[in-house]
Symmetry: D2
């Protein structure tokens, strides 16, 4: 059968990224406490295509995924990227993977334990000696203005802090989650008894933070970590008094 993809292309236009997008795939990821955990990932795999090739071979991306299915971890990404370059005869390869990751959290007073979900995305690029990863962490924010001007109460809401970093070292997902959770008015838990709810309500009220405070407080912690080559911090507050979000973003130089 004719291999149309391997035909010459004469338009003289290289393609930055070509491949497969939104593959859903069960994976195993490393876990600081338990060794590893099973989860379901959304995966994108791309290669650079030189100007003189008409097409890439899409099925080979899935074959590479199948080889590595028993354990996809940040440690394996350089290997996946080099397999992609080799199998697809490419100068550069890209691997993006997003998955829910669970950490057992202990309620602050009752000490009851339950699993909390965080969304993690890892970006690998064969042209870099480092990789990027991003963690999305739900937290509580309580408005300092509302607290200051009101006789009682203060509006508060769920917020999402997103930390994206570039590093060449091993940094645990858990480390970034802790940084985000310590940079908001309060932490979020899957399971809280009444004594925990009292503790969190009071602690949050004593710790009012604007969306601006959350991103700055997170930045202070990331700035001093030598392993982090680049960071981008976003916070989005799902405002309880509005139907839109308050948002802030800091990008490291």
């Amino acid at each position: 059968m004719k291999d149309i993809q391997s035909e010459k292309d004469y338009r003289n236009i290289p393609i930055n990224q070509v491949g497969v997008k939104d593959i859903s795939y069960p994976i195993v990821v490393m876990d600081r406490s338990n060794g590893n955990q099973h989860t379901i990932a959304q995966i994108n795999m791309y290669v650079e295509l030189p100007h003189d090739f008409r097409g890439t071979h899409m099925s080979r991306f899935i074959e590479i995924l199948n080889i590595h299915r028993k354990g996809i971890s940040t440690k394996m990404i350089p290997r996946i990227l080099s397999d992609m370059k080799e199998q697809l005869d490419a100068e550069r390869s890209f691997f993006e993977i997003r998955f829910p990751y669970f950490i057992t959290k202990e309620a602050p007073v009752s000490k009851q334990r339950s699993k909390m979900e965080y969304i993690v995305t890892i970006y690998g690029d064969s042209a870099e000696n480092s990789y990027c990863f991003e963690v999305k962490v739900p937290v509580i924010s309580l408005c300092p203005c509302s607290r200051e001007i009101s006789e009682y109460g203060a509006h508060n809401q769920r917020s999402y802090v997103k930390i994206k970093i570039k590093t060449a070292d091993i940094i645990w997902i858990e480390d970034l989650v802790e940084i985000a959770e310590k940079s908001a008015s309060g932490e979020i838990y899957p399971l809280l008894k009444r004594e925990d709810e009292k503790y969190i309500t009071e602690k949050t009220y004593q710790n009012p933070m604007f969306v601006e405070d959350i991103v700055r407080c997170t930045a202070e912690k990331l700035q001093i970590d030598k392993r982090i080559l680049f960071f981008e911090i976003e916070s989005e507050n799902i405002e309880s008094i509005h139907n839109h979000s308050a948002y802030a973003r800091i990008i490291s130089r």
Copy 2:
């Protein structure tokens, strides 16, 4: 050209609904204050298909939409439904339309005005003399338990109250929005100055409501309206202290 859709079907299986789904279309809807407003709708149009016809004629649904495009309103729905029955030679027709609808809200103290979005869905069925419509209204909920047990503060969050009713009368979207907004701890506004924020924070703190209270309080108001033949009320609180929602639902008998 052969009309394959009009072929006989011998499987003896009628189809409850067949047609077009997720058509995006600019429409004009009636508005209690301004006469009408322009918006963008997502539309589904279906007919019943008798057991002996192989297929329906999909393009005719779009032709009917084009005829009515200058003004799609709840008043027009019986006409659209009968056009569908006629043009598609069907015993029964269904028309579903969802659109964002804007109401100008005045901030409680500063009186500043701005436009607030509500999501409206209308369900028409040619076999009924009534129609259904649904309004999704963002509000604030403040937890009575958190307030009671804490020295200061109380967790609060954005909630969405969904009211779906069946009626044969004209009931304004604005009427259902007001019922939902009066049944929560507080209202949400697009634009608030500092004096408004103080007012809302304090009022919400004085009016704590569980998700259960919100649906019951809404139900009390709908029960006494004779024009309402059926109702379904949902409230979903985007909990600020959890990463999941609290939810309640009441269905009228």
Copy 3:
């Protein structure tokens, strides 16, 4: 600390469903080929609330989930439902769970194997001796009209067949997937080599089906299965020639 939720309510309005919604949770499900598989579920848990109670106890839902976390399967649903009734002192309980489920598929010619995702939803209600479950299956549809009237080619597209059944027996997810896949123009695979692509292209062209044909063909297979007490079939074709879907639905009497 005061238990506000347990206060009396005097509005005389029972609540059909109250509980927690959209909990993300890692689970293990039974698998026809491998015994079981790990996946991530979205879970809703509700109870009925009598008219004279003000509120339910939200944290207990999560405690029940934690007890059953090692293995949530359709077999376990009656147990979870009765635990919910007991722990929440309720007359009726509801458990809804949605998760991606993977089946290894073999390409038709090359026999290469890879994992394909299907979305499964299970609905449990303590008031019923049966349970509902739903499988969403991606397939190919090729238009009979386009094929008939054109000199060459025929428009085709990805479609999603959704089968929802009520049963009191064990019916495997795999069984429903096979029924949907056998009722379309062709099957979808995660990994296809060139010989497979030729086979599927030709087979699909020889097997043109309208959205109406897909739901009827599925209904024929479900009608004769005595274990199925009720079914609802939907097919949605992501039309390649339009920016909207063609849709059909059959509900069993």
Copy 4:
């Protein structure tokens, strides 16, 4: 009342972007054929915050939006950006707006007319003399490999071409839509009669294109337009034979 936002901040961390996100708002946009059209936008408005200010004034963003509500167009963006800088006392401002835009399309043979939706995003940054805009265009792709190796038929599917450009000139949305539609196997229409369906099926079969061909063909047309300072082209094919997408991206130097 105390103005907490205006307090000094001593952390020495400037914030790149702070403001309001996901505001839903009815707007009027310019239209090449009809002068203008009504639509509903999702809007983000941000300013840069110097290191020594604690917070910005969120309500002022909405006030600016209210002033410009009668006509938000690409022509108005420099004015909105300068109002934002002035009202929020900022060095730099950002305005992002996304909306559905409708163009009346005529079917190729029957000449029947109907409205087709395209998603448009405009990005304004006060630090630039140009602005970015992006159009997402649904088209058909037909696989050259499938056509070549099969006796009859060829798999085809809906694809989305996204063109993002930077320009200092007026470029009509319609111009970019035409470029994308001319760079695929075939165009998509909201309303097609049988004679149109025959025409499109045959034309698409005669014009097979890989995802790689679509982005290159689009790039050829954008490269020669002097008004375009930068472009990024993406194509995503919703593969009919797979449950994932084929994807390609070209970024201009």
